[in-house]
């Protein structure tokens, strides 16, 4: 438990991803082997200690401290696990030195998994007596399930790869197959066993990802090198069908089938398809915002399924039955995909068409069409003859996005950034004009953190420091004098924002030092772009 608690504390304070990865790798090689799997599961959010709820922790606190003093402490600290860890009396007698008879992480997990709340409380009290403050904090964070130390499942897999010298791709591939405490994973990582097999199981397969393509490179593309299709504005999904079931996965590998029952029910074919989940029907695609309403739900009602239809537009096939097609060239996979979709004969499944073009000029024309209707984000270019490989492989798949939309906005608020930027005001909220005459005022429409050079950042920072008119905690309000041209992928109506609009991926395009603030855009102009 001590090793794990120390790791959690290090992760909490490590501001950088690389530092976190290094701490996890160190922990993996130093902690008791039986603890590793449980620790990984806890950080990945895959550990359920079920019945230890906040009530149990509060009851523990009552054992050692007056209720009123506890309430004041909790109020000050703001976190139940930390408050309880801090107020727990530290034992100093030699028979019970802190951490000398501490439980292992495995002890904690196995003991609590079968325990009633009362039993859990007794066990925890015993353990807290044997731990120092870091150990107590880690233990209570673990059992209440709110680790929040900024570690993703991807980072855990990278750390495992690093610690055991295995390719991260191999770990990604088997990740969906394993469950805590991952004995089969560690047996393989330490060369005691074969890699776990996914045969006959509908599990998520790591996706192949695309690199951005710039205009200069696009000007050299020929039809002999690349196969081209639309980049649809939906959600990347994977359909996996095997003897143990039919599952739909999001791009991060979450099973989202229950939210889209119409896509998984009645699928008899077995294999794995890669594609885009889109709003509307194959004949009439609808905007991303319609899909958003379905993506926000864990389950879909019959009414919602009818009012917000979705479908699966396939662009690749990874498995047909048990046959792994990934090593085949893309042309062969597309031929097989076309056959499978024909055979499937399902109204909610079609294929993403290949686009014909003779050279860079026509490619440009195709891209120019993307903006119309807002349903297409750009072009996908896939190298001819290429296999399906997981991750972002250089030189194989490219996305060439349509030109962004832009607007001239006024800087309204600024906040300091993180890490290397912590001494700079680098997070900006901007707005546009609404109303007329004396009613004319700025309404915030978005936030941007990127798109400027280091030199520009220095100037922006200077501007914020010299133009501050008000402070709200870490936020500075600035005089509305600086105009910025922001670029964004799209803009859509939103009831969650005061302006009634939500921008996707806004970033700085240029700073308009020359432009008077009164000439910045209005809310009406932006509404017209939706």
């Amino acid at each position: 438990m001590i090793h794990f608690a120390t790791l959690l504390e290090r992760l909490l304070f490590a501001p950088r991803r690389n530092t976190k990865l290094a701490w996890i790798s160190t922990w993996l090689t130093e902690c008791p082997p039986a603890d590793r799997g449980w620790g990984v599961a806890a950080m990945a959010g895959d550990l359920d200690l079920g019945r230890v709820k906040h009530g149990v922790v509060r009851a523990l606190a009552r054992r050692v401290l007056d209720e009123e003093l506890f309430a004041q402490s909790y109020d000050f600290v703001g976190d139940l696990a930390e408050t309880t860890a801090l107020i727990w009396p530290q034992h100093h007698d030699d028979n019970l030195r802190p951490n000398s008879q501490a439980p292992s992480l495995e002890d904690v997990v196995l003991t609590l998994q079968g325990a009633s709340p009362d039993e859990a409380e007794d066990h925890l009290a015993g353990w807290l007596d044997r731990l120092d403050v870091t150990g107590r904090w880690g233990l209570l964070k673990l059992v209440t399930g709110g680790l929040r130390v900024g570690v993703s499942a991807r980072m855990l897999r990278l750390s495992l790869a690093e610690a055991f010298g295995k390719p991260v791709e191999d770990i990604e591939e088997i990740w969906p197959l394993i469950t805590p405490p991952y004995d089969d994973l560690f047996d393989w990582l330490e060369d005691r066993a074969m890699r776990p097999s996914a045969e006959d199981r509908a599990v998520f397969r790591p996706l192949m990802l695309a690199h951005p393509m710039d205009d200069a490179m696009a000007a050299t593309v020929s039809p002999g090198d690349f196969l081209v299709e639309w980049k649809w504005d939906g959600a990347r999904v994977q359909l996996a069908s095997a003897p143990d079931g039919v599952r739909l996965f999001s791009r991060s590998g979450d099973a989202i089938g229950p939210a889209f029952p119409e896509l998984v029910e009645g699928i008899e074919w077995q294999g794995v398809l890669d594609g885009e989940l889109l709003a509307g029907t194959p004949d009439a695609v609808e905007p991303f915002q319609h899909l958003q309403q379905r993506l926000n739900r864990k389950k879909a009602s019959k009414t919602l399924i009818r009012s917000r239809p979705v479908f699966f537009r396939a662009y690749d096939i990874l498995f047909d039955g048990k046959t792994d097609l990934r090593p085949l060239p893309i042309e062969a996979r597309r031929d097989r995909l076309a056959e499978v979709i024909r055979m499937l004969d399902h109204p909610l499944y079609d294929t993403s068409a290949e686009l014909r073009f003779s050279g860079p000029g026509e490619l440009d024309d195709l891209r120019a069409q993307c903006r119309e209707g807002g349903l297409i984000e750009g072009l996908m270019l896939k190298a001819r003859g290429s296999a399906y490989q997981q991750g972002r492989i250089k030189g194989v798949w490219y996305k060439w996005k349509r030109d962004p939309l832009t607007a001239d906005v006024v800087l309204m608020y600024a906040q300091r950034g993180h890490g290397k930027r912590s001494s700079f005001y680098s997070d900006y909220t901007f707005g546009v004009w609404t109303g007329d005459g004396p009613e004319k005022q700025l309404v915030p429409v978005g936030k941007a953190y990127s798109g400027f050079t280091d030199a520009e950042l220095k100037k922006l920072d200077q501007f914020v420091r010299t133009s501050t008119t008000n402070r709200f905690g870490p936020v500075r309000e600035v005089a509305p004098t600086m105009v910025v041209e922001v670029a964004f992928d799209s803009i859509a109506p939103s009831s969650r924002h005061k302006s009634g609009l939500a921008m996707r991926f806004p970033r700085f395009a240029s700073i308009r030092w020359d432009k008077p603030a009164e000439q910045a855009d209005t809310l009406e102009t932006l509404k017209a772009l939706t």
Binding site: E9, F13, S422, S423, D461
Partner: protein, 343 residues
């Protein structure tokens, strides 16, 4: 045990802070310019310029002169520790408080009754000042900065060990430590020296004057150098792997851009609360406080065995509740104007 009866007839909170009226009128740590003031220690919220007369330890007077100039008061009266001084119908004495160099408790005797005003104090070891001495009294007027059961300050040695191990782990990063410029910075340096670190330690401009004063008053801080800016605003690469000490406010300011790949350290009692430390952008929190923690506040009250405890500033509610549970009479003076967030 004596009695607190009638004590509030001659010492009570007034508009300028704690006020004594017994044959003579004087304040303790007056919040605004006053005629005659006994100053417990040099922190800005306790030691203000512009009083008619200031009575304080010679060290506190030297600190005030360094901060405000020689003319910080019309009349500076040095009162070394443990010497009696008659003021009207009272006799006062200054006793070490262990908070910062020169810090004192004020012991006031009048009519056979005794009041002790603790000022800010701590009980943990500090190589830069004289240790706290408990004095039995009828009324103990205490601070309550860290008066919550969550505050249990670890031994300073373990915190310094964390810093030195981080320097070994990240030898390419400049370790910049936020530390309050009076007391905390010098204690930190002295503790680092005690742990065997003998490289030069670099100082933000705002830290230099008081470090120099401590050294002039005989506190050995080893070799100190100014953390001046690099050429043309570029980071000073020679500070990689070095220790730099700065006021907390400078850590996220433009000043810090001169440091190569800074690892932000903060030395403060508030670092005990992980979420707070995290939110303030600290990468390595050191729990180092110049105030008494919860257990030491309670232990001190046991030691001085007063009939009544009066609480000046901090989290007085919790302390009063804990004392009530022990059967000790206590009340809050609600003195406004003493800060606790600078610590």
């Amino acid at each position: 045990m004596g009695s607190a009866d009638g004590i509030d007839q001659w010492i009570r909170p007034g508009p300028n802070g704690l006020e004594v009226n017994a044959g003579a009128r004087f304040h303790i740590d007056a919040l605004r310019a006053s005629e005659c003031v006994v100053v417990t220690h040099g922190h800005a919220d306790h030691a203000r310029p512009g009083h008619g007369r200031v009575i304080a330890t010679p060290e506190t007077l030297a600190i005030m002169a360094a901060r405000y100039g020689e003319n910080f008061t019309a009349e500076a009266t040095p009162l070394p520790y443990h010497q009696d001084m008659v003021l009207g119908d009272t006799t006062i004495r200054l006793v070490p408080a262990g908070h910062v160099l020169g810090s004192a408790q004020v012991v006031i005797d009048h009519n056979g009754q005794r009041v002790v005003v603790s000022g800010d104090y701590k009980r943990k070891a500090d190589p830069t000042c004289t240790a706290f001495e408990p004095v039995e009294c009828d009324v103990f007027i205490t601070e309550a900065t860290f008066a919550l059961p969550v505050f249990s300050h670890p031994d300073p040695e373990t915190e310094i060990a964390k810093l030195l191990s981080s320097l070994r782990l990240f030898p390419e990063r400049c370790h910049v430590i936020g530390a309050y410029s009076l007391g905390k910075a010098q204690r930190l340096i002295a503790l680092i020296r005690q742990a065997g670190y003998d490289q030069p330690i670099y100082l933000h401009g705002a830290q230099q004057k008081l470090c120099q004063l401590y050294q002039d008053l005989g506190i050995d801080l080893g070799e100190l150098k100014p953390a001046t800016a690099g050429e043309k605003g570029k980071p000073r690469e020679d500070l990689a792997g070095q220790i730099v000490i700065a006021p907390p406010s400078a850590l996220a300011d433009k000043w810090s851009r001169r440091l190569p790949d800074p690892l932000v350290v903060m030395a403060s009692g508030w670092m005990q609360i992980r979420q707070r430390a995290k939110q303030s952008g600290v990468e390595l929190p050191l729990i180092l406080s110049d105030h008494a923690d919860w257990a030491d506040l309670i232990r001190t009250i046991d030691d001085v065995a007063p009939a009544e405890v009066w609480v000046t500033h901090g989290r007085e509610e919790a302390l009063i509740r804990a004392l009530a549970l022990k059967g000790v009479k206590a009340r809050a003076l609600s003195l406004i104007g003493y800060e606790d967030d600078a610590e």
